[in-house]
Symmetry: C2
Subunit: 651 residues, 2 copies
């Protein structure tokens, strides 16, 4: 019997080495894994082949579209598992693949050493080792010309030295091994059959503190509509709290047809401003400004002023229209029309939302016309200096639209950050992150107990989603006033703030939160007693000053023996930045606990002493012994923050 | 800005529905998932799309190479997770894919019912529902012509009945829903972008009891070389023990160069038979019979006689040669030659195996010449009635070779079963199963304690490897005489037998095991006292008579509060076959334990009564209450086996 396809056999045989369980790979490479520019990106895989061969492996990386690959050696850890770490220096699309080969010289070296140690004759082995080295010189595989010169010099020593012992010493030397690792023939070279995508985001995608503010409510008076100049006047306040993103709900014209009144009433009184999510009027749509807020010139000044205060503006992108949106007349085919010829309002039967009509992404002419128009809205604001978009309810719009749109925008500016405001089912939340959203709303808002927080954060930082989903821990939203905040008083607000800002690298608050209020009021007294502005400024300063807090997946939970005390730490790989946090999640009672100072992370014994700093008071002190005790009274302060100082690093 | 690739946009947009986390899929479909002909094969996936759409989904299956697909509806379970179960009726390659679409009529039905219940007017909705039904008739999607007639009849009722209530009743009826599920337009139809392979094996690949026997040792006398007729005479013995596979180590000519003597001594005495794994002499190689064992005619009689005793012959396939193998002269380029012109013997430095030379799979002319020759060896024995191959040390031969060879053989007979005798690192063991081996040697041989067995069996039956790896639990091998057997006495042998045969669906023993001996002796007294032949016959009968024991992944561990008592059960999906087992893994001491009778599996309360049968004594009895007590004295019998009788099924 002859095989019908010998070329297939040849191709198959060429993949002698198994390279599998590659991480991070999202859905077989269908989606990109994510990382941050300048951060360590770790690639791991199982690599092995038949027999007792010794393998070598390399990680190959490049920007998408580049010709040549950058090669980094991978290191065998244990049980056929290999690792390499790369740092991407540019924002944008990258890719990686893995190559592995049989290192015949390493095998020869190990076997020859064993035989020699067992007292066996190795003269034939020496001859064979030398042939391998000579072949390396004749076949150019890798290494530099310096490497080749060095190898030639070593081989010359062999020619001049007739003694078997000398030849053995030269051929099995470490120098020889290093050179042959670089220059040796790559026998049975096997590569992954595809490259895996990585998207490298700018720093802000991975670490950001958001403050929401409704521009029209910034006049300081319930009787006057706020303007961008009012917002500019508020910038020092937001800067002093330590935030770095200032987010506005929609700032576009609001429809008047079926406008909702106060408290969501069905009919608006004259002068009621309407819901800012009912976008569009005769004054324009998503690319227009609400006339009372001011002009594009004012907006440009605001963007610039914010920048000077260390703040980036984030805009809302809400894909829905009021019945007065210009598109309805210009492009009726982008909307749903009913059998009686009327437009279809948004609804969730039996509820009706008659101040909003949904766009239909698959209606006549929607592809490409509508899709282009929506993309162009984002590009419109990008041109006006906005590089952060909070996308409203993306889970009610098609996934392929987001995948395409985000990619289109990144062609123009790979640094644009999209936050998915999707409070929905878990798989949809994850898929939105896969298709390209840089940050995601999360279930943090509803996780209150030690157990809930531990389980959820373990999922987010340890499971596969850590490769593509970056949660943004909002403590509240205008729609959501969690029971915990309603009942926890001031300590409840402190707890949720501290958890959001230290468990999460991305987090956010809606204005009013700092006053321990969640009601929607137009004009706050921003200095009123009982506020937690000092806590906010403190935790935002910690986040800026400590690199450990700028990473998400480095979170570790440690033991504190009290079910109301969540105790955790974050540290950089080199341990230079090492923070510990404890939070009493019971806002009503003082709680105490014995807890473990993680001496072992520094290789210290349980009875060691370690220097630390109380970050709230700035007080340095020494912990002696692993087991310590803490006491957290919510009336005083429901959290603790310490910095551990690596032995020998005390300044 | 205009998009450069509008067709890409169209294509992307066409995949509105996310279909992910598909199981069983092995390495993205690079390898086939495995199942057994006639068994239930369960496919699951996460399926969802944006918004609040109602989806429908289908599993599509076919034999590889067929044109048309068989379609089965998938069912939504919870949290966007869907399932369908299919039974493949033929051995060989199959494939499946998944399709999903938006079911507009189902959405219409739900929304309209909600509006009607809320007292809203639905006349416009009725008009829209009717349009959907009429469209289904005009666009042929699925369903039969009977379905279409039935739908037409229902629509005719609408024409004749002017009342809104009647129209609502017809359009929201269950009949209408069923018809529209079949006939309705498949909006946003999305399919997985590839089909996933499934290999359907015959029953023996999934459930088999192996008995090893060395033909040359079957003469009943240490002085005479056994023949196939001696083996034929032993068949009733093996059948009475209840085995169904009779496996022989290599039966080929043995080399004389560097032949090993008794107890692995380096020089053979005259008359020493040599190691059967040193295959090949001037009498022939892998396609020849050892002359003293007899002829191919005898072999044919043996195969036939075995079949009549309910036994299938399994042969050893050992890819290595003695220095006298004919291939060395015929095809010197298939072997490794050293710098001094001598052939390279097998070695594991500093150990040398000079009675064996290894084949080199990547040497000159090995591809395709050598690969074809090896494949043809298997086909040679297949022609002579052998459909089971125990492959010796497959982990020291290239993975691509096995993948290709197994596939080639399956082109001729998809029912050929390959058992990988690979005691090696875990990832290589799993990869061999992926590339095509039907069964795999496992670490069972070294897992003795309750904890070890629970962890290992949980991995094998719950983790991803369950989709492609079928372990074969050998209790011993000629190389391996586990400490547990050396020290556990007769109860030790009973324990290991019982565990292997009830935890595993595939298991095996080497002859002598039934005598509680592991020494290699040529002529046993097969009836000697202290044997465990009755235990073997008992457990093999249980395996044959109880369908629950013919499945592997249905294993469940239950609670018995004693760390020496392993307590577990197996049942069919319908609970009709429900077995419980308890084993005292401490061969030296009696052990007792309270344990839980799994009343909950039958939906019974903890204080219920359930009928059971002691399978050892055949005694029926009743357990009242979930908590019971057992006592296992290894001197009596270290195991228990019970059958639970589902309420109402007592005969």
């Amino acid at each position: 019997m002859d095989s019908p396809d010998q070329s297939l056999l040849q191709k198959l045989a060429a993949s002698r080495i198994a390279i599998e369980a590659i991480e991070p790979v999202v859905d077989e490479g269908r989606f990109a894994a994510k990382t941050i520019v300048g951060h360590a990106f770790r690639v791991e895989a199982d690599i092995f082949c038949d027999g007792h061969e010794i393998l070598a492996a390399s990680l190959l990386c490049r920007r998408r579209g580049e010709e040549s690959w950058r090669e980094l050696p991978m290191r065998h850890l244990v049980n056929d598992h290999w690792r390499a770490t790369v740092v991407f220096e540019e924002v944008g699309h990258h890719e990686f693949k893995i190559a592995s080969w049989v290192d015949l010289f390493a095998i020869w070296r190990m076997d020859t050493a064993k035989k020699h140690e067992a007292g066996q004759k190795v003269s034939l082995e020496l001859q064979e080792g030398r042939l391998l080295a000579e072949k390396a010189l004749s076949v150019r595989t890798g290494g530099t010309s310096n490497d080749r010169s060095a190898l030639k010099t070593l081989l010359a020593e062999l020619t001049s030295s007739p003694s078997e012992g000398d030849a053995l010493a030269v051929l099995t030397s470490d120098d020889m091994a290093v050179l042959m690792r670089r220059l040796g023939t790559r026998t049975n070279l096997t590569e992954t059959d595809k490259a895996f995508p990585v998207f490298v985001d700018r720093e802000k995608a991975g670490c950001s503190a958001w403050y929401e503010l409704m521009p029209r409510s910034q006049s300081g008076s319930p009787d006057r509509h706020g303007t961008f100049d009012d917002v500019i006047a508020r910038l020092p306040y937001v800067r002093d709290l330590g935030f770095d993103v200032l987010y506005f709900p929609p700032i576009h014209p609001i429809g008047s047809t079926n406008r909702k009144g106060r408290n969501n009433s069905l009919t608006a009184e004259p002068g009621d401003p309407g819901c800012p999510y009912a976008i569009g009027s005769e004054k324009g749509g998503h690319d227009a400004l609400h006339p009372e807020l001011s002009t594009f010139e004012d907006f440009a000044r605001l963007v610039q002023a914010a920048r000077e205060h260390g703040l980036e503006i984030a805009l809302d992108f809400a894909v829905q229209c009021s019945p007065d949106h210009p598109w309805i007349k210009q492009h009726p085919q982008w909307f749903d029309w009913r059998a009686d010829g009327t437009i279809k309002f948004a609804e969730n039967p039996p509820k009706k939302y008659e101040d909003i009509v949904d766009i239909h992404f698959y209606s006549r002419d929607a592809i490409p016309g509508l899709w282009y128009a929506l993309r162009d809205i984002v590009l419109f604001w990008l041109k006006r200096g906005v590089r952060l978009f909070r996308v409203d309810n993306p889970h009610t719009k098609p996934l392929p639209f987001w995948e395409w749109m985000v990619e289109e925008v990144r062609q123009v500016d790979p640094g644009v950050v999209f936050l998915a405001e999707a409070f929905t089912r878990p798989k949809m939340m994850k898929r939105l992150a896969k298709v390209g959203f840089s940050q995601s709303y999360s279930y943090f808002t509803w996780r209150n107990t030690k157990r809930e927080l531990t389980e959820y954060l373990t999922e987010l930082t340890r499971e596969e989603c850590r490769h593509y989903m970056r949660p943004n821990f909002f403590v509240n939203t205008p729609d959501i006033n969690p029971v915990y905040l309603q009942t926890g008083g001031r300590p409840g607000f402190q707890v949720r703030l501290f958890l959001a800002a230290t468990l999460g690298t991305n987090y956010g608050v809606y204005s009013g939160f700092e006053l321990c209020e969640a009601a929607a009021i137009r004009a706050w007294d921003w200095g009123r007693p009982g506020n937690i502005k000092a806590d906010i400024a403190f935790v935002n300063r910690l986040r800026r000053e400590n690199p450990a807090l700028q990473q998400f997946t480095n979170l570790k939970f440690y033991n504190a023996w009290n079910d109301s005390i969540l105790y955790y730490g974050k540290h950089t790989d080199d341990l230079a930045s090492f923070l510990l946090f404890a939070v009493n999640v019971d806002p009503h009672h003082p709680q105490g606990a014995q807890f473990e100072v993680p001496m072992w992370e520094f290789g210290l014994p349980d009875d060691a002493a370690i220097e630390a700093e109380d970050l709230v008071t700035g007080q340095p002190f020494t912990w002696t012994g692993k087991i310590q005790h803490m006491f957290l009274d919510p009336c005083q302060r429901p959290y603790m923050a310490w910095r551990l100082i690596p032995p020998g690093a005390w300044q």
